[in-house]
Structure formats: C-alpha cells, structure tokens
Point group: C2
C-alpha cells in the first residue's frame, strides 16, 4: 500500500526536491509563474531543448540520478558545441504515478551534483502527471558574446575535422547492455562503455576553444557520420574522414577487433556527446593548444572537401567503407 505521506502533491514535491536546486534570484524560489531572467549584457542567448523519454533514450530502471543527469547533460552538450557558457535551465518533468520519495530524492541529487559541476542553476519548469512513462524536457540557456554562436553551416573546403574524446563508447555500451555484440572487453572496459552510455560528459571545457577557432561544430548525439552529414548539408560541402584515425577507447578497440560489426556502431552509433568541429587550417594549432589547456583531447579525423554529399569514410587502404546506416535514430 502506498505511503501517501511519502508522496507529496505537486507543490510539496517542488518545495521539497526542486526548490533547493533553484538558488538563482531569477528563479524566485520557484514560487512564481515564471522566472525573471536578466540576460548578460552584450550576449546572445543560446537556447536548446532536448526531451528524453523512458524506453527511448534511457531504460526505465536506470538510476534516477543517472536519468536526470543524462537529461541535463545532453542539453549542456549542445551548448558546449555551440561555444556557449551555460547559464541555467528549465525542467519539465512528466512523472508516472508510481514515483517514490526515494526515487525523487535521487533524481534531484543527480541534478544538484551536476549543477555544482557545471556551474548552473534551475530557473523554472513544470511538473505534471505522465500518461505512462517518465518524460523529461529540459530547456537549457547558454550565453556567447553577441554574434559568436558556432553554427553548423560554416565549414569550408580545407578545414580540418576534429572530434573530442573517443567515439563509439556509448553505442557499444548500449549494445553490451542489450547483449547484441560478441565479446566482452577485459578488465574495467565493460564498465567504462556502460558508463559512457549512462553518463555523457558534456564538453563544456572545450566550448571557448570551439567558439574561438571552429568554423562549424555540433555534438555527436546520433552518430559521427550522420551528424557530420548535418554540418556538410548546412555548409554545402563534403568531407573525407579516415576510419583509422577516429579515436577509440581501449575497450572499444578491443570490441572492434573481436567483432567487426562494432565498427559500424562506432561510426554511426549514438550518444557520444563529443564535439565534432571543423577548424580552418590557420586555427588548427591554436585549437589544439586551447583544447590541451582545457584538458580535452581532440583528434583530427579528416577534412572538408569540395562537393556536397554525405561524408566519405575511408579505411587505412584508402578504400571507401560502406556503412549500413549513418546514424542512430532515436525517433
């Protein structure tokens, strides 16, 4: 039997779990209908909204703190790729009827941890009953000096393509979890891949370098090749990337060696949340230096070439690699 005292109504839920997250004066302690937000002077606001839903973007039995952090981080990842500094966020929370106080406390603790880590605060939102599965809708707000948001459409022939971190870990982590891949990485490898799926790391430390040096950028959320395609389409250019230069973790490399189908997951699987950036050649050295100073590894994987069309992916022999699909479709 449900303990009703442990399951407050909307106002108590907000007061107990969410108000402690809203320490910016603009949030008015979540006691008003809206936030009163004073934009930083001279800034453009970078506005992004990503929804995540149970069974589509996460497993319903994932830890609550993992779900809430993933929902927030996928939004922060967009801000990072646009070169923006995060400012705050609004949280829309459609809660299924069977939520518990423990679950909600864990959910809020995850957000609190990330707010500290990323220097942001909750500005407002809404909490409603979900028709069935948990659905989160976060609107994140970032800031850039006016006119400097990095877009998808600025890549030019000759630019070098860089990705941050390693690619494919999350997609392989998901396949491990689903049991759809042969082989298991040794040691802590499996844990690493599963963690990369559960806990994306928004590359906010790289945002300033991206803003100063990239001609175009986005975060890799649906798959490297497919997301690169968005840059190419918006920029009216092509690209050639070398599969062997795509940076892999040791665990991912082991899986690719054990099961060649894993390479497809690496190149076109989702949930990496690394930054793919095109960098003009005269900015390459500065971008690499700025990334190193920020503590974020970046790797050149190819270049922008003339001619519109999907990215050409070549193997170490120079021959094109044909992918079954370019990206992972969450929709």
């Amino acid at each position: 039997m449900a303990d009703e005292t442990a399951r407050p109504g909307e106002f108590d839920l907000i007061a107990r779990y969410l108000r402690p997250l809203a320490d910016d004066p603009a949030a008015l302690n979540l006691t008003d209908d809206a936030a009163a937000f004073t934009p930083p002077p001279g800034a453009d606001l970078v506005l992004t909204k990503d929804m995540v839903a149970a069974g589509i973007h996460f497993f319903p039995n994932d830890a609550a703190a993992s779900i809430s952090r993933k929902a927030l981080r996928v939004n922060l990842s967009d801000l990072a790729a646009k070169g923006a500094r995060p400012v705050g966020y609004l949280l829309g929370l459609a809660l299924p009827a069977d939520w518990t106080a423990d679950w909600m406390a864990d959910f809020a603790a995850g957000l609190a941890e990330d707010q500290r880590a990323y220097g942001i605060t909750l500005l407002g939102g809404d909490t409603v009953k979900a028709p069935s599965g948990l659905t989160l809708s976060i609107t994140a707000i970032g800031a850039v000096p006016s006119g400097t948001m990095v877009r998808r459409g600025g890549a030019r022939v000759g630019d070098v393509l860089f990705v941050s971190g390693t690619i494919g870990d999350a997609a392989l982590g998901l396949r491990l979890r689903l049991g759809t891949i042969d082989g298991t990485p040794a040691g802590e490898g499996a844990g690493h891949l599963l963690d990369r799926y559960l806990h994306p790391q928004p590359r906010l430390a790289l945002a300033e370098a991206v803003r100063l040096h990239a001609s175009a950028a986005l975060d890799v959320s649906d798959g490297l090749v497919g997301d690169l395609g968005h840059i190419l389409k918006a920029s009216g250019v092509g690209a050639r990337i070398e599969a062997a230069r795509v940076p892999l973790s040791a665990a991912a490399r082991a899986l690719v060696e054990a099961d060649p189908s894993a390479l497809g997951s690496v190149l076109s699987g989702g949930d990496d949340y690394e930054i793919l950036a095109s960098v003009p050649r005269d900015h390459v050295a500065a971008y690499q230096l700025a990334a190193a100073a920020a503590g974020v590894p970046v790797t050149p994987i190819g270049e922008i070439i003339a001619g519109a069309g999907p990215a050409l992916v070549v193997g170490s022999d120079g021959a094109p690699i044909r992918l079954e699909r370019a990206s992972h479709d969450h929709f």
Copy 2:
C-alpha cells in the same frame, strides 16, 4: 497497413511541419542544435514552461489544433499575467507512434494561427517518440522592461482584487463534457463553456495594464480561490472576496442556478486562464481605464486584508462560503 511515405522521420517531420513556424532568424530554420537569440536591450526575459499531457490536461481525441493551441496558450497566459510581451517559444513534442500526417498538419496549423494572432514565433525544440501518450512541453519567452516583471508577492493590505473576463466557464465545460453536472445551458451556452475549456484565451492584451498597475498577479489555472492563495502566501497577506461579485458568463450563471454544486467549480475549478491581479487603490481607476482601452473586461471581486491565511469567500449575506477544495489538481 501504414503508409510510410505519409509518416516521415524526425528530420522530415521538422522540415515539413515545424520549419514553416520558425521564421525568426534566431531559429536558424531549425537546422542547428540551438537558437541564437539576441535579447531585447534593457529587458528582462520572462521564462515559463508548462507541460501538458494526454489524459491529464486534454483528451487524447481532442482536435490536434486544439491541443497545440492550448499547450501554447497556457504558457502565453503566464506571460500575460507577469506583464510580459511574448517573444517566442520552444516546443518539446513527445509523439505517440500512431500519429498521422493529417494530425500533424492540423497540429502545426493551430500553432501557425496562434503565432499570427499573438505575434510570436517558434525558436527551437525537440521531437521524440512518446512512451505512450502525447506530451507537450513548451518554454515561452517574454520580455519586460528590466525589473518590472509582476510577481506574486507584491500584494498589500487595501489593494483591490480584480479578475479579467469570466470565471468558471472552463471547469463547467469540462463537467459538461464529463457529464458530471445537472442541467444544460440554453442556446449556445454549452458550446461556449466547452470552447472555454478547449481554447483558453491568454489575456496578452491586458499585460501592459497589469505591468503598470498591479502589485501582484497570476493567471487562474488551477482555480480562483487556490490561485489567490498563492498570491496571499507569497505576499504574507489575506483576502476577502465576495462570491456574488465573481463575474460569470450567462451560461455559467444558468448552471449555477440549476445545480448549486456548480458554484464550487466556478470558485475552485481550473483552466480559466484569466488574470487575477491585486491593484493598489490609487491605481484602480487607471487599471480599469487601461483594461477598457485593451478591450478586456476586469471586475473587482474583493480586497487584500491583513493576516496571512487562505482567502475568505463570503456570500451576499456576508457569511463565509466553505469550499470542498480550493483548486483543481492537475497533478
């Protein structure tokens, strides 16, 4: 068998139905990861987010254009009550698997119509698969001259309480639809009440008057008495309202006369989306003039009194009216 050509994937869906709604340059044609929004100089942004879910806030078989407009309007209503001019919005759309092209076209047409009516534009958003029922999460952005957002906490003893329009229509419309009320209003009365439930009218025309003259305000979404309680709590005051002065439509008045239980729905039912404002006595005449100039009827229903606590509702004999509940709980 489903016609797959009529059911595009996420990118085509956005291009076909949502991109035409996004004609502000900040939206970048919805082809980027984020909007690049230049705030109006000297303004505070008013940020609000309301989610609506099938079976909770609307009937799954409501017309798509009614659902989309309701989702947008409940957000615009918050902006109006805060004295803000609407600027734009982001749309989070969790779509069940059985959506059709016709449904989506109707959904977008409703938004297009309201965008024209209210002078706003779509800035960005996200479209995902819904675990089951349709869920919409809208973040609306408004603007006020810096420091002038009308809050809940400014009501002072002696202020006059005004509501716009008529109260209770939507709650009675819902009861008519559910068949939980005796009597049927004559003529077009039932249609009026049902329409008030389906199509809230955000009082944006009144926003400037509210901003210039109200000490506190909110939109009545969960019920007049309950929502007044939020102003009282935030302001540390009490209120006395006279039930007989609460403005009713002819249809609502007929139902209250036929079924006394209807008075409870009027005073504590949800979905009115009228503006409740406390107005200092030396601003009352100016507020009434400004409201008349805006074409929005406003009616004084009581006053702010000393002492914290829930609103005192009195009948025409001066005796307190006891309500079963103060508000409608959507949660």
